[in-house]
Symmetry: C2
Subunit: 152 residues, 2 copies
DNA sequence: AATCAATCGTCACAAATGTAACAAAATTGT
DNA sequence: ACAATTTTGTTACATTTGTGACGATTGATT
């Protein structure tokens, strides 16, 4: 029997469909951490992401945050405005390029970052414990590979 | 030197923070498939998910779809309405429980599922090829583990 | 130098989403 | 048998998000 078998082997399998499975896993994990920044600090996910990035990597522009955090530019723009209103973030002009602003955390922004970062690390360690330490490294490695591969 | 070292080892590390890394990977992968159901079929993610579930598993109720697809009930409700308007989906009353409706794909719904499912599988295979076949199984396994662990 | 295209961040508007309330039906407990 | 509670799916409302356009600035082309 040559080609054109009765059973086509290109049938769709949802169980192994990565966009679905990854989204499912990601949402499950994200949701369970969400209550901390949402209910305890009244923050949105975007705000927490921007705070985490500035806390982790120091001063950056909005575009850089967007690229690194995989956040839409309007999400960054709004999160920055909101964090600025809380006085957790401040803007400084860039001498080299007057279109952009250098964003950085204020003193109380750093404090908030330390508090939330600590909770985040606690959460992650707990997850790592239940999952197995090595699994975390595996996931991180796979996430790296996925991002590399998708960007053709 | 006993306790209280100068360098605290509970510092937050974004690189290994699973909610972030998983979301990042998930978004990267999802976005690149999104254009197919969005631009070629004018569908939302929820609609594609509902179509995929009914196509894959056959007739189900809205609640069952929501549970299986990790979709909010209002998302399911709206996606069902929209797919029904396209005549890709039909509802039938359940004799045992008159609150629910048995949802299933129409003939053209099945056709659409086959077309889109084929594209989806194609996309996934392509990804698997670049990533290494075994990696996909790894990811699926880890996704299972994550979902189990998060649900306490 | 002058024009053209590209980038940055913001805003108005439209679309998608979540919350909370609801009617209808089923389930539980007495 | 009945009342109280729970479940299912839809809707109104408010919030969040993405799209597209914009002014300002920069970089590239000539």
């Amino acid at each position: 029997m040559a080609k054109s078998d009765t059973s086509s082997n290109d049938e769709f399998d949802l169980e192994t469909f990565l966009p679905f499975r990854l989204h499912q896993a990601s949402e499950a994990v994200s949701q369970s951490f969400r209550s901390i920044y949402k209910h305890e600090y009244g923050m949105t996910r975007s705000e927490w992401r921007v705070l985490a990035h500035l806390g982790q990597y120091g001063a950056m522009t909005a575009t850089e945050i967007g690229r690194s955090a995989s956040l839409h530019k309007t999400k960054v723009s709004r999160a920055v405005f909101s964090l600025e209103t809380r006085r957790w973030l401040s803007r400084a002009p860039d001498q080299r390029d007057r279109r952009v602003q250098i964003l950085s955390l204020t003193k109380s922004g750093h404090q908030a970052y330390r508090r939330l970062g600590s909770r985040a690390q606690q959460y992650n360690d707990q997850l790592a414990k239940k999952l197995g330490k090595d699994k975390v490294a595996e996931i991180v490695h796979l996430a790296d590979a996925l991002q590399r591969v998708v960007k053709d």
